[in-house]
Symmetry: C2
Subunit: 136 residues, 2 copies
DNA sequence: TCTTGACCTTCCCATGATGGGAAGGACTAT
DNA sequence: ATAGTCCTTCCCATCATGGGAAGGTCAAGA
């Protein structure tokens, strides 16, 4: 099958398939005489794996590791679990960070009338001279 | 004061100050005969405003709007509040998305022994042929 | 006065993951 | 044969930030 069909079947755009190939995430497929890439069903399987990994927020480098583990039939499940749990912690940290930003803003907005008057504690806070604060 | 001092005082790197100027987020300051940028205390104030906005997750374009509102002494607080609340929703959506990813992964990891054996439901899930699923 | 070191300037490049689009060749159905 | 849809490679853009080179400037100390 051509790249278009592989894209449709895997949910990975043709553009991305070529990119993944260029960075060595997936192996280069065979080509027709006219240089068209030719994919097998198994390649679609791999692309779906990548898609799932990306959907769960793994970076391409992490996905590369997961692919290696997937292909290594003798891998230890501990390696996979460690990678996954490290990622879970990253995701949760990031989520907590966003949540904290949202809470701060929501709090400021609570005290903002939200009418035609110019007075607004949100801007007042932004403009306030801050005490030294660390950046996450 | 020179750009280095403005950077230290505002918490915005010199690199970023120049960049913000180049995209018109902040106005170009006066220059010495040797082309050194010269900042006033008020400029540091503006930079701090930008910094605070960025720390709360506003994009540079949103920050541009907030700056305009800040400078417009006759703004309606409703405009500020709307912008802030729209951003709060974005942040909360994003946070929920990350949390969902983390939950899914944590769930998969729960059923993974995490020992020397190769068997691991995490990879098994990744490799499973998915039913059609929408991407967020 | 000269030197040194810390500052400043502009310019280019890199990141991560993705998309847009141009120019040109290949294939398919009418 | 012709149109339309696919494919190819190549370059550019995004978003916000940092790294670093090459070269000019300034202040302090010998």
């Amino acid at each position: 099958m051509n790249i278009g069909e592989a894209a449709t079947r895997s949910g990975v755009s043709a553009k991305m398939i070529r990119y993944y190939e260029s960075i060595g995430l997936i192996t280069a497929p065979a080509r027709t005489a006219a240089q068209y890439r030719v994919y097998a069903a198994d390649d679609v399987h791999t692309l779906r794996f990548v898609r799932r990994s990306r959907d769960l927020g793994f970076s391409l480098e992490e996905t590369r590791e997961l692919l290696a583990l997937w292909r290594d039939k003798s891998r230890a499940s501990a390696d996979v679990k460690n990678l996954a749990m490290a990622h879970v912690r990253e995701l949760e940290e990031k989520a907590a960070e966003l949540k904290a930003m949202a809470d701060t803003l929501r709090h400021l907005a609570t005290h903002c009338h939200g009418d035609h008057r110019p007075d607004c504690p949100i801007l007042a806070d932004f403009a306030a001279t801050p005490t030294v604060q660390a950046k996450a």
